[in-house]
Amino acid sequence: MSTTNSIAQARKVVEQLRVEAGIERIKVSKAAAELMSYCEQHARSDPLLVGVPTSENPFKDKKPCIIL
């Protein structure tokens, strides 16, 4: 019966919302600080961020100089 389905569905929605409402959250300022700290810690080893010398990046072609 459609009523039973609607009730079952509505109950599922309520259950789901209860789960979501009940989780623990932290402040945005704290979350942001942690995202920043992760970036900072790993910045030096991020090749696309700091760039790697041509000799170490397999995608950057090492073109030898040809003296004519």
Binding site: I7, L17, S29, L35, C39, A43, P47
Partner: protein
């Protein structure tokens, strides 16, 4: 029989009221913790310098739109799939093709490399996800060893191996995601909660545990517990279909790209959107997003043929990359972060570094 287990005062009306109350409570709880914006907190971070990223390789060989690609863990091989039904494995260093498989369907919308590098998975309009072991013998017919793993009731939009070659996670136009055992083809877990096509998924980095995020045409991004099948968090701030989701490298956040022309960053512990990457001049949808290794850069492939590079912390655009001659449909950073690959409706893939 008709209304089993209903409490004495429970009716459809009371359940609906309760659901509205809970939604309001959820918004209030999230708002209470909204004490700052990410870009404000990041004001003191040093600004990024000039960016020189160029196309280093162009992979030509597909006969039609490239729809999806994935890197091998060896950081040099790539698998790509196309509307023409072909799945190609490339050596990105040399731009040579190593394997090619013709699928029985067109629009192969999803492909993934196995962690071992010994197999690839793909699927699309056939509603299935199939695994092809890669043979060292170039003459061997790969299609003969094909193994059908997943069966959905609508198109396959994305697939990903979990930490091993043994399990595959899929998302589908049928509105569900599912976890499958590769060997037996058995359905291990299904994930219900999206109210429309699921378009993308991404697994949390292994250190953070057994969760994954999915995005769909219902404008929602859902975070799931892989073991229980439960949706643990849901985010609804995009204004249109979510085409791509990708975890931040620490696992504490994820980015999404949408047809609403924005990319957004959602922090899992603050349980809310913490940044929007947009510009008035950007009006075309984002098809795919990925982070650089440190999480500082977000690369977005757009339907206006460009790739925009965003400073994740400051919220500003750092660079715009031109080169593709049609929509960018897929984009992934290599496993060691030295380059990223983009695939396009212009039939090519480009490696940028």
């Amino acid at each position: 029989m008709a209304c089993q287990g209903l409490g004495p005062n429970e009716t459809l009306a009371t359940l609906k009221t309760e659901s509205e109350t809970l939604k309001t409570k959820l918004e209030e709880e999230r708002a209470k913790l909204h004490d700052a914006e990410l870009h404000q907190v990041a004001e003191k971070v040093e600004a990024l310098g000039q960016f020189i990223i160029k196309t280093r390789r162009t992979l030509k060989g597909h006969g039609n739109k490239v729809l999806c690609m994935d890197w091998c863990k060896d950081k040099r091989r790539i698998v790509s799939s196309s509307q023409d039904g072909k799945v190609i494995v490339w050596d990105a260093f040399t731009a040579n093709k190593e394997h090619a498989v013709t699928m029985p369907c067109t629009w192969v919308m999803a492909c993934a490399y196995a962690p071992s590098g010994c197999a690839v998975a793909c699927g699309g309009l056939d509603n299935k996800c199939s695994v092809y072991p890669l043979s060292l013998d170039k003459n061997e017919n790969l299609a003969a060893k094909k193994k059908s793993v997943a069966m959905h009731t609508n198109y396959l939009s994305a697939c990903s191996f979990t930490n091993s070659d043994m399990q595959i996670l899929t998302s589908s136009g049928d509105g569900t995601c599912a976890l499958w055992d590769v060997e037996s083809g058995q359905l291990l877990q299904s994930f219900h909660g999206h109210s429309a096509d699921v378009l993308c998924l991404d697994l949390a980095p292994s250190e953070t545990g057994n969760t994954f995020v999915s995005g769909g045409c219902d404008k929602k991004a859902n975070v799931w517990d892989m073991r229980s099948g439960q949706c643990i968090q849901s985010f609804e701030s995009h204004e249109s279909d979510i085409n791509s989701v990708r975890y931040y490298p620490s696992g504490d956040a994820f980015a999404s790209g949408s047809d609403d022309a924005t990319c957004r960053l959602f922090d899992l512990r603050a349980d809310r959107e913490v940044s929007v990457y947009s510009k008035d001049s950007i009006i075309f949808g984002v098809s795919s997003v990925d982070f650089s290794l440190s999480g500082r850069l977000l690369f977005g492939g757009y339907n206006d043929y460009t790739i925009n590079v965003w400073d994740v912390l400051k919220g500003t655009r750092v660079s715009i990359l031109f080169g593709h001659e049609n929509r960018v449909s897929t984009l992934r950073v290599s496993p060691d972060g030295t380059a990223f690959c983009s695939g396009s409706w212009d039939h090519t893939l480009r490696i940028w570094a």
